[in-house]
């Protein structure tokens, strides 16, 4: 069975596309699926850092596209997860080095060998974004519960629909349950009402994400991390499992739960 190409995009920068790509890939590989991530952010490459593989880059995506190496030579295999591979981006070039057709051709080759091909899209709506969605079978839009991120997500969803790659699915990242409770942050329902697409998953704000990134270790491999758990659930949903969403209530402490039982309001 040929593999599925999943593009992770957002419009807005800094909402967590690269983190999501790395962690969903790690979670899928942990489940035994053969996964390759492709960093389509030419000129501003980050995926290699998040996966902790930057020291092993010899060839990159632009080398493959321009024929300086074979596809196999650009694949970096993760030593922790033998089913996880990376095709890194080029840091010294820019988005015009690759075209949408190049991406489609590359992914057609990758489909033969991998169950999942995850494409980390750059921010924006121009060439880099178009490169990233050209080969997509499925698109995930990442956003934060914050007005400018949601506005950009709406724009990008419209563009995805226009390119007939929809319907996209939503990954709501960095939700802070305390801020939602105190009325200082949009909740999932607010965001879904605005964007009107299906929800793939919610990843809560979690310090362990930053810690893991600095260590080059995907947080999805951290059993104790709530964000890691969310990414693992998302991977399971992508594989067709029906995994219920972890509600806000479940993430609060025992004392607070007891408080509510005895009638103490928040």
């Amino acid at each position: 069975m040929p593999g599925t190409v999943l593009t992770i995009t957002s419009g807005k920068g800094g909402v967590g596309k690269t983190t999501a790509t790395a962690n969903i890939a790690a979670a899928l590989a942990h489940m035994g699926k053969k996964v390759v991530c492709v960093d389509a952010d030419i000129g501003l490459r980050n995926l290699d850092l998040i996966l902790g593989l930057e020291n092993r880059i010899v060839y990159d995506l632009v080398d493959v596209v321009e024929g300086r190496c074979r596809l196999r030579q650009a694949l970096i295999r993760d030593k922790r997860l033998p089913d996880l591979f990376l095709i890194p981006s080029a840091q010294t070039r820019d988005k015009t080095a690759v075209s949408p057709t190049d991406m489609v051709r590359l992914c057609n080759e990758l489909r033969q060998e991998f169950d999942w091909i995850l494409i980390d899209s750059p921010a924006g709506i121009e060439r880099g974004f178009r490169n990233a969605i050209a080969p997509a079978d499925m698109v995930v839009v990442v956003t934060n519960p914050e007005v400018s991120a949601v506005r950009d997500a709406d724009r990008i969803i419209g563009l995805i629909e226009a390119e007939e790659k929809g319907p996209a699915r939503l990954l709501l990242n960095r939700l802070n349950p305390q801020m939602v409770r105190s009325g200082n942050m949009l909740d999932a329902d607010d965001v879904l009402e605005l964007l009107a697409i299906d929800l793939l998953g919610i990843v809560p704000e979690d310090e362990s994400v930053v810690v893991s990134a600095n260590r080059g270790m995907p947080v999805a491999l951290d059993e104790k991390s709530r964000a890691g758990q969310a990414f693992r659930n998302i991977a399971r949903r992508l594989e067709g499992e029906d995994v219920p969403l972890v509600t806000l209530e479940d993430t609060s402490g025992l004392l607070q739960r007891l408080g509510r039982l005895f009638g103490r309001g928040d």
Binding site: T96, I125, R151, D154, I157, G158, L159, A162, L194, A196
Partner: protein, 227 residues
């Protein structure tokens, strides 16, 4: 049975190059002829900004999107698609392409539209308009869906949104102060009727259907009670 290849005409204009595809042949033949012509002069086209006249052909997003990609392989930026077909115009707009050759000058916020609406022509939009989408029409515009913040409607006549209006709505854009804007939830970023501009105050409580119109030289919104 081979189709006769359509004529490909290339002209230099102020905004770059205008490439016109002659009528008659199917889109597949026309696209192949176009790419062939470009391939023969690849160096000339590399780095060019191209406006494409496709004649009366109705084109879907997948077709235009694919062509744009192929053109970008040659280093060509497709910035406009000119066509008499409303379907192609709509497709081009949704892909962020211009449909006119000369861009309107910025500066004056309100410009008169060429409103030649025969009778009471209305454009029906059966979808939610997402941020960045724009609908322009000389007559009335009716939207069956929401108009998200960042979306715009510019109508020579009235604007009716059967949903939430959160974007920008400009009714009576050709100077008609009798135009109205109605919505089930009237919460626009900005509302314009003719050359008057207004913003909505923050909403208190649940939204109810409202109608905005010009009264005594001001834009006022009132609850819709039915007439």
């Amino acid at each position: 049975m081979a189709e006769a290849a359509p004529k490909i005409d290339i002209k230099g204009i102020r905004e770059g190059l205008l490439v016109s595809i002659g009528d008659g042949a199917s889109w597949e033949t026309a696209e192949a002829a176009l790419l062939n012509a470009i391939g023969k002069q690849a160096d000339f086209f590399n780095g060019a900004r191209v406006a494409l006249d496709v004649g009366a052909r109705p084109l879907k997003a997948a077709q235009l999107g694919k062509l744009r990609d192929r053109l970008s392989d040659f280093g060509i930026t497709l910035w406009a698609v000119i066509s008499e077909s409303p379907k192609t115009q709509e497709t081009a707009r949704s892909l962020g392409l211009e449909i006119h050759l000369s861009k309107p000058r910025p500066g004056r916020v309100v410009k008169p539209l060429e409103a030649r609406a025969e009778g009471e022509e209305a454009l029906m939009v059966r979808r939610t308009l997402r941020s960045g989408m724009r609908v322009t029409f000389p007559g009335h515009v009716i939207v069956l869906g929401n108009v998200n913040a960042g979306a715009e409607i510019i109508a020579g006549g009235d604007i009716i949104v059967w949903g939430r209006l959160k974007g920008v709505a400009h009714a009576g854009a050709s100077g008609n102060t009798a135009a109205v804007v109605c919505a089930l939830d009237l919460s626009p970023t900005q509302l314009r009727i003719a050359d008057l501009i207004a913003t909505a105050p923050p909403r208190r409580g649940n939204p109810t259907p409202e109608i905005a119109s010009v009264k005594d030289g001001q834009v006022v919104a009132e609850s819709w009670h039915g007439k």
